[in-house]
Symmetry: C3
């Protein structure tokens, strides 16, 4: 057992440290209440279970009982979310030295939660298009039920559509906590600010990054390891990064982007129906209907007898069978 006086000394040093600046609210709390991560994740899971009770509800109920059960879960989630949103607004007010809105955190939280819950029926409708797109787009999918229960790309999109609603309502902290929960679970990193049309499908998904200012159209399909990112960051006169500018690409309807492709820049636009091949590195716009391939480096093969050859011509399929 460690001596009590040593523990006391360490605790004192941790909470009265000089010489290294404390991070607002993260190290010391100073009475500030912050949105608890577990509470936020619990709300998220409750909302998902109401959208897809057949997959995510923890109680087994059916028929009329299902509606009653979903109603109860919805009420619980609403109360908890309102509490978390209020604390998040209060945190932001405290950090930003209290604007006039500070008195209205409670009212703002109420309005946000009503908006969030009111949007659920529409979100469900869009998600059903996403699920159909996943089922149709993957030969390995056995049923839409399997897709909803198991596909990480579908889970990430469910979470994104909820988090994006809260992002649009300018709630601090909570949208990103939700999207990073999905990132942790799926390896898919969608910033809650990204705007994504219906029928969106990400296959496999690990390593996908979608930036804050992306705008993605309808029926777009991405594979694992795709980045829709920033080309460079603007800096202000003090050399600090400028926040809030358009930094990420636009992707129009019916575009397919194969595994490992990187598309960068706020002025880059991928036209309707374009196909971007595996590992392509793209920093320019491409027109509608274009097919973009890598001139893949031809691998060199050394055979057992010591002879060398190249295995294939200079162009290779982009993984899309064309």
């Amino acid at each position: 057992m460690m001596e009590s006086t040593k523990l006391d000394a360490i605790a004192r040093e941790l909470f009265a440290r000089e010489g290294c600046p404390s991070i607002s609210g993260a190290h010391h709390r100073d009475g500030l209440m912050v949105a608890g991560q577990r509470a936020v994740i619990a709300v998220l899971e409750d909302l998902i279970s109401v959208l897809f009770p057949g997959c995510y509800l923890t109680h087994e109920v059916g028929g009329a009982d299902l509606a009653a059960c979903a109603r109860a879960v919805l009420g619980k989630a609403a109360n908890s979310l309102q509490e978390q949103v209020r604390m998040a607004f209060e945190f932001a007010c405290a950090v930003e030295n209290c604007t006039p809105q500070c008195q209205t955190c409670q009212e703002r939280a109420t309005a946000v939660v009503e908006g969030m819950l009111g949007a659920l029926p529409e979100i469900l409708c869009v998600l059903q298009e996403d699920v159909e797109a996943a089922y149709e787009g993957d030969p390995a999918a056995k049923s839409t039920m399997e897709v909803v229960m198991s596909y990480p790309g579908v889970y990430a999109v469910i979470v994104h559509r909820i988090a994006h609603e809260l992002y649009r309502a300018e709630v601090p902290l909570i949208p990103r906590m939700m999207s990073e929960h999905a990132h942790s679970r799926t390896g898919i990193d969608i910033h809650p600010g990204a705007q994504i049309g219906p029928g969106f499908f990400i296959d496999h998904g690990t390593g996908v990054v979608i930036g804050e200012t992306c705008v993605i159209g309808k029926r777009v399909k991405l594979y694992q390891g795709v980045t829709l990112g920033a080309l460079s960051f603007e800096k202000d006169a003090q050399g600090r990064l400028v926040k809030g500018v358009k930094r990420h690409p636009d992707v129009e309807d019916h575009v397919v982007v194969y595994a490992g492709a990187t598309i960068l820049g706020g002025r880059t636009r991928i036209g309707t129906g374009a196909v971007i091949g595996g590992n392509v590195w793209l920093t320019h716009s491409v027109p509608p209907g274009a097919k973009v391939y890598n001139q893949q480096p031809s691998p060199l093969i050394r055979e057992v007898d010591g002879s060398w050859k190249t295995s294939q011509g200079p162009w290779q399929s982009a993984g899309d069978g064309i």
Copy 2:
């Protein structure tokens, strides 16, 4: 607090929505019982703890007590798995409009679980070869115990060998739920249909994708970011994807595939003992014993004085020291 009447209205809209089609069993349950994700994961964890009690058993017991404890965990897992498998068969019957097999879901579940548990001793034996391969293949590995407790590649293979047994028994939903649980935890996406020989090791692992119809031999080693995927998808006369055809490569014994390599296509075969270098993109077969390298693009270096040079010759090591 949100008004009760508003919550009622949202719940009503969610469960009686017209204009956007519901997804069978996922949104509405309609009395259909589906396999619960938590129950399936709990079974999986119980089976793993019986295979590796020294690492995964939650109770600390030893000697003769260990066998008794493992026996108890096995019995619990068998009962729960049987329940889940029965529900999964019933779900499939209901979706597929009830075949004659529908009356026999219970009997089929019993047979599947007996087969699954009966296969465990053989699975354990194969897993011990996997663990040895991991320990021998990684200079950072300090002990086989560390390998079993901590290596994501080992965890993913443990789960795969269990899920594959259920896949072979044609159980719906559950094998993929297990493999996606491992994917979530490890970033390694192995479809439960893939056939993988003993002594298989994936180092680091994040971003690895192994497709449904892959066939992998003995003592194969993969690094992070390797894809064994499909080159293109066949479509039927209606333009829908054809499901069930061979789409993914064969990898023979003693092959090593370095980080980020992509190997695509159902007719692509990597011969015994071949070495595939980092980031190689391969859509053709290679013969036994071949070494396949990228002609890596030579990076350009701009030094501080403004001069340019290339840092290295046109060929680079594949990361395998040759």
Copy 3:
């Protein structure tokens, strides 16, 4: 229900199997007590909550109560960690056929835990530099609070700094269990042996691999998919891998490495202030201040009218706006 006699037979076969060798301590326990994964993760979470109570403490307390609460959590963590460390030392002694140190496992555990907890104030100070670096380095970051609560790169570094302290104290098993917990949660694989200076930031992070013998300077920034890895493994006269040699690169202060770059080899050194572009494959040292770009393959574009063109010149930006 499965027959009891069948379960008995399977359990017997699992624990008295001949013909396939058992893995020391992993399959059979033989009375050996091993560090429980859940206990180790619980200690890790307690230590993190003491470092950042505003984000990770589970109880809501403020002011003077906060210090008392943190003190209590610290004491609980110290006791549990000491127990786990002792078991890990005992495991190593048993595997290595009991050195003279075997009698001193308890004493060694006490010393390790005192060292670990005594290092927390200094670790906190370094972490605050990491958090500042993350906030300043990402235009999407809204507050340092958001960074601590949500950024996977920050979480991975918090865990690494704790695990590295235990690695330096030569504790078996536990450091790697902690780092693989972070890997599972974030997709960022930092070996606990890596030496990393203050102000370290990994953006997005999925797929990052940092090897055991890396040495990283101050204010270094990495993006998703970066590998700092080994070029090849030395083998001894018996053909077995040599463990413990310097295999991974050195990265000096103020270096930036963009997404997907691969830097390999124990003699590879990236000089101060160098910038390594996206997808660069580097196995040689580069001097301070150098900018390293890929000659990206120019993607080929086939437009709808069937004509071909290349979308851009042979050189492309490395994603750093230069």
